[in-house]
């Protein structure tokens, strides 16, 4: 699994220009837009960037070759979850750090609650996306992926306008309370677990 993880990092590293553009865009957004919108958007960008590793695996039949190396289908699926979750959280943390440094502000406990809640929502998004990426060929997977992203983004854009008139603290209070955070966290873990089982099953029966 370690080898596959390193392979994915090295492959994404080849797309440095895209990564830097996304980081710059995200940092600009974090300064100009509401916190909710920014965190969501950054989470979606990070996870989309990470899930692009599927495209590299499926081009030139790389996946076929990878499964001839000392790994197996289950390890491949596990690695994808670990990699995508790690990259997404890493991406969000990087943006948070950069925007905090630029704006010279520190995150408070309410913002942390909000951030955690959004991370969990992004995990639910990832739980939907990964089985699709495994089940479908790249050209079909991208259509389904974009559809899901659009469905999640519409309320996000709406929320950007909705909360624009409220103060940030009120907006946070309106969305997150500790109980809500616990509920959404449990939901995210359940979704990821079920998603992993589905992905492993699809992968186990896949003809390459």
């Amino acid at each position: 699994m370690k080898g596959l993880f390193i392979k994915d990092i090295l492959t994404l590293k080849t797309n440095t220009i895209y990564l830097i553009s996304m980081l710059v865009l995200a940092v600009l957004l974090s300064i100009e837009s509401s916190m909710i919108f920014t965190y969501f958007f950054v989470g979606l960008l990070g996870s989309s960037f990470a899930t692009s590793s599927f495209s590299y695996d499926q081009s030139e039949r790389c996946l076929m070759y990878l499964l001839c190396l000392p790994t197996n289908r289950r390890q491949y699926v596990k690695e994808k979850y670990l990699f995508i979750i790690t990259v997404t959280i890493g991406f969000m943390a990087t943006i948070l750090l950069i925007s905090s440094l630029i704006q010279n502000t520190m995150i408070d406990i309410n913002e942390l609650y909000l951030l955690l809640a959004i991370v969990m929502m992004i995990m639910i998004y990832i739980a939907f996306v990964i089985p699709i990426k495994i089940a479908f060929p790249p050209e079909k997977a991208i259509i389904v992926h974009l559809t899901i992203t659009a469905i999640m983004t519409i309320p996000l854009i709406a929320s950007n306008g909705l909360y624009a008139d409220l103060s940030q603290a009120d907006a946070i209070k309106a969305i997150v309370d500790p109980m809500g955070l616990i509920c959404i966290s449990i939901s995210a873990f359940i979704c990821l677990f079920v998603s992993y089982l589905i992905s492993a099953k699809i992968m186990a029966n896949k003809n390459l």
């Binding site: 370690k2 080898g3 390193i6 392979k7 090295l10 492959t11 080849t14 797309n15 590299y56 695996d57 081009s59 030139e60 039949r61 790389c62 076929m64 070759y65 990878l66 499964l67 001839c68 190396l69 000392p70 790994t71 197996n72 029966n205 003809n207 390459l208």
Partner: protein, 281 residues
């Protein structure tokens, strides 16, 4: 080393149905026309496709239950698959070092240099020949006990093919117990290294024979209509008629040389065998 027992795999217009038993230390050539089922067989052995029935065993284990240490003993070249072409050889070295305990980085770098493979160029910038050399190098650099090579010389010119075959010969000299299964369209490549051949046609193994026997005992007899009527057909395996001339495949060359001294008898080789089994009746 590898046993395929009553393996079947059905597609819409093609069915693979075969049994094979490849012994440890053997170098077996897998020969067949395009679409005969060579790559499908490789994929089945490597568990890249799910077989419909039968069993495949590698190292006496079910092929889909190989653990990490078993897979470390296998080296693979697939005709149309490798690492992402966005990667450089330097990246691949890091990945292989992580994946294989026995990966020999020094050997890999040395051979890459000998074969003019740049370490810091993306694979997508490689020529066909460079890419094949790279794939073979990846397959042998952890000193595997089992090498599965699907069309490793496809699309290469004579010089490039010689380089690949030299690489394999070096591996065979260094590790004489290694088992190799190699498929190719180019018979001369296989004749240079193989011990035995499996001839596959339309998803079935139609012939399994030692290569020495093919070269020594197989022959194509060419006769006209009268000759065909008169010849003893006891040892005739396949018949193919072309422009009024009968081509008869036999595995008893000496019998026909002794009994029909005036008849044209050509020595057998893999190409002729392939043609006769593909076109003959």
């Amino acid at each position: 080393m590898i046993t395929l027992k009553d393996v079947t795999k059905h597609y819409n217009d093609f069915t693979l149905s075969l049994s094979m038993d490849i012994k440890e230390g053997a170098i077996s050539a897998f020969v067949g026309t395009n679409g005969a089922g060579k790559t499908t067989t490789f994929k089945a052995i490597l568990d890249l496709i799910k077989i419909d029935s039968g069993s495949i065993k590698i190292f006496d284990k079910d092929h889909d239950k190989l653990d990490r240490s078993d897979k470390e003993k296998i080296g693979v070249v697939l005709a149309d698959a490798t690492f992402s072409k966005e990667l450089k050889i330097n990246d691949v070295i890091i990945i292989l070092e992580t994946m294989y305990h026995d990966f020999d980085g020094t050997f890999f770098r040395q051979k890459a240099s000998d074969l003019n493979l740049p370490l810091d160029k993306k694979l997508k910038e490689f020529s066909t020949g460079m890419l094949v050399r790279f794939k073979v190098l990846c397959a042998i650099s952890h000193h595997p006990k089992l090498l599965l090579l699907d069309e490793p010389t496809a699309g290469l010119d004579v010089l490039a093919r010689t380089e690949i075959l030299d690489l394999l010969r070096d591996h065979m000299l260094k590790y004489p117990d290694a088992t190799i299964i190699i498929s190719s369209h180019i018979a001369s490549d296989l004749e240079a290294i193989a011990d035995d051949i499996y001839l596959i046609d339309d998803g079935n193994i139609v012939l399994h024979e030692d290569l020495d026997k093919v070269i020594d005992d197989y022959a194509i007899i060419k006769v006209d209509e009268d000759g065909y009527r008169d010849i003893d057909k006891t040892y005739i395996l396949k018949i193919f008629k072309d422009n009024g001339v009968y081509h008869l495949l036999t595995d008893q060359r000496n019998f026909y040389i002794e009994n029909y001294p005036d008849v044209v008898i050509e020595k057998g080789d893999i190409d002729k065998l392939l043609t006769m089994y593909a076109k003959g009746e």
